[in-house]
Symmetry: C2
Subunit: 241 residues, 2 copies
Amino acid sequence: MSALPGVKALVFDTFGTVVDWRGGIARDARTFLARHGRADVDPHGFADAWRKRYQPAMEEVRSGRRPFTRLDVLHRENLDLVLRDHGLDPDALPADDLDWLNRAWHRLDPWPDAIPGLLRLKARYFIGPLSNGNILLLANMAKRAGIPWDAILGAEPARAYKPQPEAYTRTAEILGLAPGEVALVAAHNGDLAAARDAGLATAFVLRPHEHGPGQRTDTRAESDWGASVNSFEELADRLGC
Amino acid sequence: MSALPGVKALVFDTFGTVVDWRGGIARDARTFLARHGRADVDPHGFADAWRKRYQPAMEEVRSGRRPFTRLDVLHRENLDLVLRDHGLDPDALPADDLDWLNRAWHRLDPWPDAIPGLLRLKARYFIGPLSNGNILLLANMAKRAGIPWDAILGAEPARAYKPQPEAYTRTAEILGLAPGEVALVAAHNGDLAAARDAGLATAFVLRPHEHGPGQRTDTRAESDWGASVNSFEELADRLGC
């Protein structure tokens, strides 16, 4: 029997699972920092600092303290904060440059196995991102890199940020499926645990370099997920695609 | 100068503009009716009767009398009514058969010029549907027919049915664009008028057979739309794609 019986749609965490956010942000931050006389700042550290503000910003929305706000806006606000932390004044920098750097999140590259695996999985399953990224971010990323999604799903159409249960259950509803007919594919044990609690099937993909060398989190499947693999191509093998 | 200056995204009405709904619904209705002993019913008349209930059902939502309800649900309710009008009792028919017929809206074929034109337009513009169809309907249609959308937009992510202004303005907002940077491409003068009122650019595509032979509505551009063409390929020519 194939793994994930009864599953008709595969939805994917995106930052870290499909694409290498740290490498992509560092690449464009390096260009930006050099252009503004700060080649001394470590671009990977800058990427980590920007990403670190991701959860607290979404928590404002999840808690209900702030109405639903798409991730491009949260990233842009966080960028100002990270620049100030590095001694740069965003108000003194050209708006176009800041917008260009903010759109670095739209220009992330997939891990090498991601697109070959997705092309095989798409032949048998409905596939889409279940990301906290907004529709435009995910669509621009897909258009640039050739990611073959069937539809752009995630926080914006669901109007809820993971790991809130509504992010998972409303995605199944949009797909016209019961939660158990949808599997979340993710490199993060916490995301998978929330998806399972919401009734979804689960598949863990190991991404040992998401956080760079010496990564210490999500270095293994921490539960008996529906599948545990090392790449999207291995997932396609396991699902008979 | 190319037509539609300053436009960065093209969004498309779908039923009638991209796909031939009448032919597709008639094809599957013919199969369904024959299977249930009613080969005497004209399948094109059946398609017209089903479609006729489309606007009144959405009007319940637009008026605020009913919360936002996706089109698959409205189609399914309308199917029951149309079957009763034809002397068939939906409660006596297999649920699977009814669901199969309801999903005929997911299996519509594009007009012959649509995909060749979209492939050219996609190289230069962000493209997506701005349809009253729900995400799953449009995504299944695209997956089956190979329609190369960059993202599935429309009533469901915008939470508003055309021709309400929010259907157009919220779509521009999702795209991170000003309304004037988005053009609606449609075969329907009324849809274009509402889009223009909401600030969008406009392009009319003549679809003289949407309603079958002897069509009497939308047989010409009734205003000075930003462009008026006879096919998506002519639109690609006009936009220098």
